[in-house]
């Protein structure tokens, strides 16, 4: 009952605000929605502390229960979702101040929380899929929140359709698992797979298909194109859905299915490969962006790539750990950006910013904490989790040195673009017009909390011989993985290396974008990076437009078919006209024809 309540509360909030929100005065919908999310957080916490829970309706679909499950993994994830969700709800009360759709916004946010919690608490894949699609819908609604602008509406649709491609993979993966095991309940599948000596054929395909779903939802290469466009939504949405929670659902799915992937080395390798590719692509694209949110968006793609690298090499707990630290610092970065945008009355171009340190002291601190944590500044949250991932490529079963080198290189890039972001926004001279003003407390206080998380959350899991709370906590819910033990000296050496890389990157970023004149080749790179390497253009030309043409062609073919039938019909008419030609009205003809008929009958009948 507890579990259904966690989902139901925000859902009721959605229903109430959706139906009657118009009649509430401004802060009320925000307070109501925040309160419900807060209560959900407390309920999750209570559930976690009381050691988990489960709930189900048997035979919701034939042989498929509707089951919810609160174990260590879903509890951990649920706390991140509702916790960060609560903070962002509160922030949004300030951010959305004065918007026409104030209550609608909170209705959607509550709907998102409900669906995300369905996804997280799901005890079987179909239930997870409900949440999966539900958050997709929430994302659609919130990206297109300001739907009167065509670009926003188009971005929303693009997100939904791209996600659908992934969802198809999820669906087919479920079909395959159901075909092989006759069940889709996660605990049952887990014991079935753990208990079988010979795994059924096609299990790799199932793993791959589920991963396709994750690729769509988590904006991995090649389905990453929707996420930058999703920035069309209000900034709290970008923070909540497109950074902290929804986009990590793919990682969560793989971690949830770790019992499956731990047996699939080939698929895991592909996952890692996709992950590191995405990480590199995201980082390279982030470097050239001029939109304050787009930088953070590409950074999110890149960071999600890290998480997939982690699950790909088998370091499931590290991925989930990174989900949390990332949620803190990325939500912080977005909300800080939002604060900046808010104070500049909607300006998003960083070329028209600069020097905001002076005007927005609190926000400056938030931005700095977020950027440094993202860059992997030693001892901050992002440093510990990212370093854990990079190191894991060496000692986890499916890893490799190639992954390590690539991971480290991307870390360098990350530090550079993080610094670029911070430097161009907050340092130097203010280049815009108008008077920036600091945001109200309702926006800055949640950021304070997030900043604390971005700085200290990493302390939950430190390398040996220091303490690690996360790994043992998650262990019962994840697959058991044999790790090559690494000597402490080597491990700490690598940690130092990665700290040095981060510092070098930060310096490069600071120096390059505030002091140096950039060389010619970088200008070229800048253009390519700004356009995200023209992937959208390529997709549009090679896939989207041909498909649109195909639709027209099919419609045309349909008409051809139609005329084919018509031709058939008119041919019988033609035949009929020939027949009636015989029927000319002359008795002599009729008589002759009758006689002829008789003769034929007789000849045939008698001579046979």
């Amino acid at each position: 009952m507890l579990l259904i309540l966690i989902i139901l509360l925000p859902l009721l909030g959605f229903a109430y605000l959706g139906l009657f929100g118009k009649s509430l005065k401004e802060p009320q919908p925000g307070i109501l929605a925040s309160a419900l999310t807060g209560i959900s957080f407390l309920l999750v916490l209570w559930g976690v502390l009381s050691g988990g829970a489960s709930w189900q309706i048997k035979d919701w679909l034939p042989g498929i229960p509707f089951s919810l499950l609160l174990d260590h993994l879903s509890g951990y994830m649920g706390l991140v979702v509702t916790g960060i969700g609560f903070l962002i709800h509160v922030y949004a009360i300030g951010y959305m101040h004065g918007d026409e759709g104030f209550s609608r916004f909170f209705a959607y946010l509550n709907f998102f929380i409900a669906m995300m919690m369905t996804l997280v608490l799901a005890g079987s894949y179909p239930v997870m899929f409900i949440g999966w699609e539900g958050v997709g819908l929430a994302s659609f609604l919130l990206i297109g929140f300001w739907y009167t602008v065509k670009k926003n509406a188009d971005s929303a649709r693009k997100a939904f359709i791209t996600n659908r491609i992934g969802d198809l993979g999820f669906l087919l993966g479920m079909a395959l698992l159901y075909g092989s095991f006759g069940t889709l309940s996660i605990p049952e599948l887990r014991s079935a797979i753990n208990g079988s000596y010979v795994l059924p054929m096609g299990l790799s395909l199932a793993g791959l298909l589920l991963f396709v779903g994750a690729v769509g939802k988590s904006a991995q290469v090649p389905l990453m194109v929707w996420l930058p466009d999703a920035m069309a939504g209000p900034t709290p949405v970008s923070a909540l859905i497109h950074a902290a929670t929804m986009v990590t659902a793919g990682v969560y799915l793989i971690a949830r299915s770790s019992f499956l992937y731990v047996n699939l080395q080939d698929v895991s390798y592909i996952i890692a490969l996709v992950g590191i590719t995405t990480a590199a692509y995201g980082a390279l694209s982030a470097l050239g962006q001029w939109d304050i949110k787009k930088i953070v968006a590409y950074s999110t793609i890149s960071q999600l790539g890290y998480m997939f690298l982690a699950v790909g090499v088998g370091a499931y707990w590290i991925a989930i750990f990174h989900v949390m630290t990332h949620a803190f610092y990325k939500a912080l970065l977005f909300l800080a950006s939002g604060s900046v945008i808010h104070s500049l009355d909607g300006e998003q171009d960083i070329r028209k910013m600069g020097g905001l340190k002076k005007y927005l002291p609190r926000t400056n601190l938030h931005g700095l904490a977020g950027a440094l944590s993202l860059a992997g500044f030693p001892l901050l949250a992002g440093f510990w989790s990212k370093d854990a991932i990079i190191t894991a490529t060496l000692n986890y079963p499916f890893g490799g040195t190639g992954f390590y080198v690539a991971g480290l290189t991307v870390a360098l890039l990350t530090a550079i673009y993080a610094m670029r972001w911070y430097a161009l926004v907050f340092l130097g001279e203010y280049k815009g017009e108008g008077r920036p003003h600091e945001s109200p407390a309702v926006m800055t206080v949640p950021n304070d909390v997030l900043a604390l998380g971005a700085v200290f959350a990493g302390l939950l899991a430190l390398p040996k011989p220091l303490w690690n709370l996360v790994e043992p906590y998650l262990a019962p819910a994840l697959a058991h993985v044999e790790v090559h033990e690494m000597s402490l000296a080597l491990e700490w050496g690598l940690i130092t290396l990665s700290a040095v890389v981060a510092l070098v990157g930060l310096y490069l970023g600071y120096a390059a974008f505030t002091r140096w004149a950039l060389p010619k080749w970088y200008q070229t790179f800048q253009t390519w990076s700004e356009k995200a390497f023209y992937v959208d253009l390529v997709y549009n030309t090679l896939i989207v437009n041909p498909l649109k043409e195909l639709a027209v062609l099919l419609d045309w073919l349909d008409k051809i078919f139609d005329s084919g039938y018509l031709l058939l019909a008119s041919s019988s008419k033609w035949l009929a006209e020939q027949l009636s030609w015989v029927q000319a009205g002359y008795v002599r003809v009729y008589g002759a024809l009758m006689a002829l008929g008789l003769v034929v009958l007789l000849v045939w009948g008698v001579l046979r």
Binding site: G18, I57, D59, W60, L61, P62, G63, R104, P126, F129, I130, W132, E133, G134, L137, F140, G144, Y147, T148, V149, K150, A153, D154, A156, R157, F160, I161, R164, I165, D167, L168, L171, L172, M174, A175, L176, Y178, G179, G182, L547, K548, L550, A551, V552, L554, D555, D558, F561, D562, Y565, A569
Partner: protein
């Protein structure tokens, strides 16, 4: 009880036709009464009541008036009575005769679902055509006669061939009557079975419809009365999947086994092709027609999988789509009323002026897109699980249509509601609130708690799968 349920709408239909002054009140009352009876019967079936009845209709020829509600019939019956009531509720500005004809059709549809005698089934199947034709012919658009003849010729082509198949099934199979149980006991195999099955197939492929016998459908919807009432009834009349489930496949399991790979391909191509064609449509009703066609392709895939879960998915899909497709046609009727056209124009931006209508439209479109939690999903999902076991490749092809569904559904929706506001229009009026609420409640209930229906469908689906020699 069962006879009252089947023939009550007929009675009210004639009443409306003969005394058209109070058409709306009488029609609503009649369909409400039918709805209540339907609910009671549904409850009865849930609690295990037996409504079976049979008496000779043409004793000398072995034709019986034999009716019953089994689980599958009861679920679809509920969909029919709800959809009819909803449609009559919504269509408040239609000519009185349309109300009467709709009620006549409702009777025919209930008969189709209840019939346990093949010839009785055929009689209801064909008889329902008459009011449907009249509705199209009397109240359709400019191209109605062409659409009508196309619709009728395809239907009759199928059903007359099926009549030959019916005769062969009985007289070659050696069954003493046309009763389902007798026919099942005297299944016709061999070459004759193939031909007879093919005849049934044509009939039900027209009425599913499936490529390439679907061409009547878009014109049928595009030319029908703009209110959407005729479209709802027409949607309900697409009983091909039910016919395949109840009659064609169980009667000719051997022939079906031989045809199966081709049928799966046909269903999959229908699902994908129609979804993609829907994207190119520039008119609401045509878009909905192709969208519904695509769904029927998916449903047929589930049936042709021959598995219990696939078949129950197909039946569920049929029941669910009766409501949401019907509601979408009624929704389109509302657009026609507002704008005088059904063209999909890119700059209406209606959500500002009509937020409630936008919400209704979104829920309906999403149900069609198959969003989990709404009624479109459980059926689609069960179809997927079933058809994957029969053919992963064709399942993949068919479900590519799911992506296309998002594309055409959301494009159409956004064309109407999003972008910069254009000509403003009124938000939902009282009548729209009434039927909209009903539709949304049903869609949500079926999506959230499909168990109520699947539990009724499953025994029939299992028997179906067992007859076809399949397991789960």
């Amino acid at each position: 009880m069962i006879h009252v349920l089947i023939f009550l709408p007929l009675l009210f239909g004639f009443w409306v036709l003969l005394a058209p002054q109070q058409a709306r009140a009488v029609g609503l009352f009649g369909s409400l009464l039918t709805l209540l009876l339907g609910l009671i019967s549904f409850g009865g079936v849930l609690s295990g009541a037996d409504y079976a009845y049979q008496t000779p209709l043409l004793r000398e020829a072995g034709v019986y008036y034999a009716v019953a509600w089994d689980g599958v019939g009861a679920v679809l019956m509920l969909a029919v009575v709800i959809a009819t009531f909803m449609a009559l509720l919504a269509a408040h500005d239609v000519p009185p005769a349309m109300v009467g004809l709709s009620l006549l059709m409702e009777s025919g549809l209930l008969g189709i679902l209840a019939a346990q005698d093949l010839l009785l089934f055929y009689v209801f199947f064909e008889a329902t055509l008459i009011p449907s034709l009249l509705m199209l012919g009397l109240f359709g658009g400019a191209g109605r006669v062409r659409a009508l003849i196309k619709f009728a010729i395809f239907t009759l082509l199928g059903s007359l061939l099926m009549l030959a198949g019916i005769l062969a099934a009985r007289y070659l199979g050696g069954s003493p009557s046309f009763l389902l149980k007798d026919l099942l006991a005297h299944s016709l195999g061999g070459g004759a079975g193939m031909w007879a099955f093919a005849a049934f197939l044509v009939a039900f492929m027209v009425k599913t419809p499936l490529f390439p016998l679907h061409v009547w459908l878009p014109d049928f919807h595009a030319e029908n009365h703009p209110s959407g009432l005729a479209d709802v009834m027409g949607t309900l009349y697409k009983v091909g999947i039910f016919g395949l489930f109840r009659w064609a496949l169980p009667l000719f399991p051997a022939a079906f086994a031989a045809f199966q790979p081709w049928l799966l391909a046909l269903a999959a191509l229908t699902a994908l092709g129609a979804a993609w064609t829907a994207y190119a449509q520039t008119e609401w009703k045509r878009l909905l027609a192709y969208g519904a066609l695509s769904h029927m392709g998916i449903g047929a895939l589930g049936i042709f999988s021959g598995s219990a879960i696939g078949a129950s998915g197909a039946i569920f899909l049929l029941a669910a789509s009766a409501i949401y497709t019907g509601a979408l046609f009624l929704f389109a009727g509302g657009l026609q009323r507002r704008f005088g056209t059904l063209e999909l124009r890119p700059t209406t931006g209606l959500a500002k002026a009509a937020p409630a209508l936008a919400a209704l439209g979104l829920i309906l479109v999403l149900a069609m897109v198959g969003l989990p939690g709404l009624s479109g999903f459980p059926g689609e999902f069960m179809n997927l699980l079933g058809s994957w076991q029969a053919s992963p490749i064709w399942t993949f092809v068919a479900f590519l249509g799911v992506i296309a569904a998002a594309a055409y559904g959301l494009s159409a929706y956004q064309n109407l509601f999003h972008n910069a506001p254009g000509k403003p229009a009124a938000d939902m009026d009282g009548v729209e609130w009434q039927w909209g609420t009903l539709a949304v409640l049903v869609i949500l209930f079926m999506g959230v708690y499909p168990k109520l229906f699947t539990e009724l469908i499953m025994p029939g689906a299992k028997a179906f799968a067992a007859l076809l020699g399949g397991g789960q």
